[in-house]
């Protein structure tokens, strides 16, 4: 164990020397405050004002809050703009930071990488249909939100590197052949032309292959995987682990949470309604009854446990700050700010507990259900229900499920704790959140 941790620490140190790694962390650091505000807006919007929100339902907010539609729509507008364009921001900041390390034009390169990212997500299918108005959106909007962060990072790195080198190369080439200095405009314009031609060609090519752009390629593959998980506990755990690994890479949300409406969940619900409880439900072990109920506190990777582990064991001021700031969104299973703020993404030390904690929780839940210690969850639960309450409410108020939830949470905290302590030794220089 100690050797493993030491090895991890060394890997972490080596990786953070990499220019790309530093660029990613820096980019996420800059994007964090925006995402934090967004998450807090989402807490109110999704948890309190949306019809399917947990607090909306338990406090019957629709009945007593005047002008509910105004509030809903106002918050939705903010959410669409900031949350919907998070990936564009990340593309900008990644490109910007990388260009700065190459001493190229950071602002111009940042904008280039944001534009390049957008060209990859143009909805090529609607182009050339003539201007009949609103047949389809011009951009693949889904990919510009949190889902697109991985692609944004890749594009930011690629464009940041390419543009910086192009500019330098162009300058020297111009000096050699034209015997005079290439103007600032010239350098940027030429690089932009090259980069946009490359990305447009890529985006257009992909649009021939698959609807929904590059991003969709990955998501489609994952969705087919996750919709057919069936009842084998090992397979369910494996799929969740893969999914969490991808979250860590910034491929956020390939497996949709709260599978309340899948066929198996509905059959379970029908059974429970007839028999009064979930004992003996036809599908006791599914992605929903294991994953959504016991391995999703705070969102993918049991981040609620991570926050508690930070409170207990972290001496890093920045970590503690992020934990305090993102606690409320985590309680409602909106953990994007934690993932980007610490950051958990691309953090090799946190990858292990991020995958392990949910897997162990699911294993515990599976064992408990298989040994008939708890009934599976059968009643639909809102997506924004505080994680440890999902099991309790989903079983119709079975205290054993609440106990199991608390056990899963404690075990996950214990899993996170050594890794969080390991991070105490990290230099505090590049964290200023």
């Amino acid at each position: 164990m100690v050797r493993l941790l030491r090895g991890l620490w060394r890997t972490n140190q080596r990786l953070s020397q990499w220019r790309a790694m530093r660029a990613i962390r820096e980019a996420l650091r800059v994007a964090y405050p925006f995402i934090l505000v967004m998450a807090l807006v989402d807490v109110v919007g999704q948890g309190f004002l949306s019809k399917s929100g947990f607090f909306f339902q338990i406090y019957h907010i629709g009945r007593w809050l005047p002008g509910i539609e105004f509030w809903q729509q106002g918050l939705q507008a903010v959410s669409i703009v900031v949350n919907g364009l998070v990936a564009v921001m990340v593309a900008f900041t990644t490109g910007h930071y990388l260009a700065r390390t190459y001493h190229a034009e950071p602002l111009a390169v940042g904008m280039m990488s944001a534009l390049a990212f957008l060209t990859l997500n143009v909805n090529y299918d609607t182009l050339g249909q003539g201007g009949h108005g609103n047949e389809g959106s011009q951009f693949l909007e889904v990919n510009l939100g949190p889902q697109g962060i991985f692609l944004a990072i890749l594009v930011g790195l690629g464009v940041g590197w390419l543009a910086s080198h192009l500019m330098q190369g162009l300058t020297t080439w111009w000096l050699h052949h034209r015997k005079k200095q290439l103007s600032w405009t010239g350098r940027i314009a030429w690089s932009l032309v090259v980069i946009l031609s490359l990305t447009v060609a890529t985006g257009y090519g992909v649009s021939w292959l698959v609807d929904g752009g590059i991003n969709n390629l990955v998501y489609l593959a994952l969705q087919t995987l996750s919709t057919n998980v069936g009842h084998d506990g090992w397979w369910i755990i494996a799929v969740t682990a893969i999914s969490n690994g991808l979250w860590w890479l910034g491929l956020i949300g390939p497996i949709s949470v709260a599978g309340n409406s899948s066929v198996t969940s509905l059959q379970n619900l029908a059974y429970a309604v007839q028999h009064g409880s979930g004992w003996g439900a036809p599908h006791p072990v599914t992605l929903h009854t294991l994953g959504d109920a016991y391995a999703n506190f705070g969102g993918a990777g049991m981040t609620l446990a991570l926050l508690i582990a930070i409170w207990i064991g972290s001496r890093q001021a920045s970590y503690r700050r992020v934990a305090n700031q993102t606690f409320l969104p985590n309680l409602l299973n909106l953990n994007e700010p934690t993932l980007l703020g610490l950051p958990v993404l691309f953090n090799p030390i946190l990858l292990i507990p991020f995958v392990l904690a949910p897997a162990v929780s699911m294993l515990l839940a599976w064992a408990a259900i298989a040994w008939r210690l708890v009934p599976p969850i059968v009643y639909p639960v809102p997506r924004t229900t505080p994680g440890p309450l999902v099991g309790y409410l989903g079983t119709g108020g079975d205290w054993r499920a609440l106990l199991l939830s608390l056990v899963c949470l404690s075990v996950s905290v214990l899993i996170y704790l050594p890794f969080v302590r390991l991070l105490n030794d990290e230099g505090d220089d590049d964290h200023a959140a």
Binding site: F54, I58, V273, Y379, P382, L389, G396, G397
Partner: protein
């Protein structure tokens, strides 16, 4: 730490503020799910009129099977005067739209007999619910069968919890018995009107009349069928009166009348008929029974 005491209190308070309302919400949701849940089994209960046996609807059922191309299975019940029930036929496994015919050993006409028959119907109904566990059903009554069903709905249905009737179709049911009068109410009509507040509020009722001439189908006066509006109108969700004329419209022919079979398919069994078979009826009133499944 001086502040820690406050902090713990705050945490406790926060937990309670979430926990207690969620507890109440949970109870509410579960009852809601229970009341909205519908069993796959959705039988149609058929009650024949006076002097008819449990085989009264055989022609109709054969015709329905042929036309709908679904093998609706048939269960026939006969209730003896002692309350003993004899079953013939069965509900086939996998058939969610079976027909259940309920007839009575004492199938005579008259006020006291009809009241007794409603009581027997209740016995049979309770037995069926106990055996087959359905929680929603539809009804078809021919002639006095419609009266028996109406009395049953008003007087006895409340004894069975959590079972909702969805649609009732009465064919040539004389709500005012043999009386042709539009002003004089017979005992049974008076009783039905008096207790109409107990009718299920979400029920949809169709009353079909046949006429050979302008006033009757040969047995039941059209005016007597018309009196049904005083029972159902403004009491149930929808009440629709339909009059069928033409061939096969004598009182006893009505259950196998082609038009009425189409009406049964379209309105009682809720089939989607090809447009050529659909009756060009006036548009039904806007339904207000949108049931929310309540999934988040």
């Amino acid at each position: 730490m001086r502040h820690s005491w406050w902090r713990w209190l705050l945490v406790l308070l926060a937990v309670l503020v979430v926990f207690v309302p969620s507890q109440l919400w949970l109870k509410q949701r579960i009852t809601q799910y229970k009341s909205n849940y519908k069993t796959p089994l959705n039988p149609t209960i058929m009650v024949p009129g006076s002097s008819a046996s449990q085989n009264r609807f055989d022609t109709l059922i054969t015709q329905l099977r042929k036309e709908t191309k679904t093998p609706h299975s048939v269960l026939k019940l006969k209730v003896a005067e002692s309350g003993q029930i004899t079953y013939t036929g069965s509900i086939k496994r996998g058939d969610n739209q079976p027909f259940i015919v309920i007839a009575f050993e004492n199938n005579r006409d008259g006020y006291t007999n009809i009241n007794k028959q409603a009581q027997w119907l209740n016995l049979a109904f309770k037995d069926l619910v106990k055996t087959y566990h359905f929680n929603h059903f539809s009804m078809l009554g021919h002639s006095n069968g419609g009266l028996i069903l109406s009395v049953f709905l008003e007087k006895y249905l409340a004894q069975t919890q959590n079972v909702t009737p969805e649609r009732l179709m009465t064919i040539a049911t004389p709500y005012n018995m043999e009386s042709d009068s539009t002003t004089k109410q017979t005992a049974i009509l008076k009783e039905l009107i008096k207790a109409r507040g107990k009718l299920p509020k979400k029920l949809t009722v169709y009353s079909v009349a046949g006429t050979e001439n302008y006033s009757s189908d040969g047995t039941v006066p059209a005016n007597s069928v018309n009196q049904g509006k005083y029972v159902f109108q403004n009491q149930v969700a929808h009440y629709t009166q339909i009059t069928v004329t033409g061939d096969d419209t004598t009182h006893s022919d009505l259950p196998q009348n082609k038009q009425i079979i189409l009406l049964i398919r379209q309105y009682l069994l809720k089939e989607v008929l090809p447009s050529k078979d659909r009756l060009p009826m006036t548009k039904r009133s806007q339904s207000n029974d949108v049931t929310e499944t309540g999934l988040p």
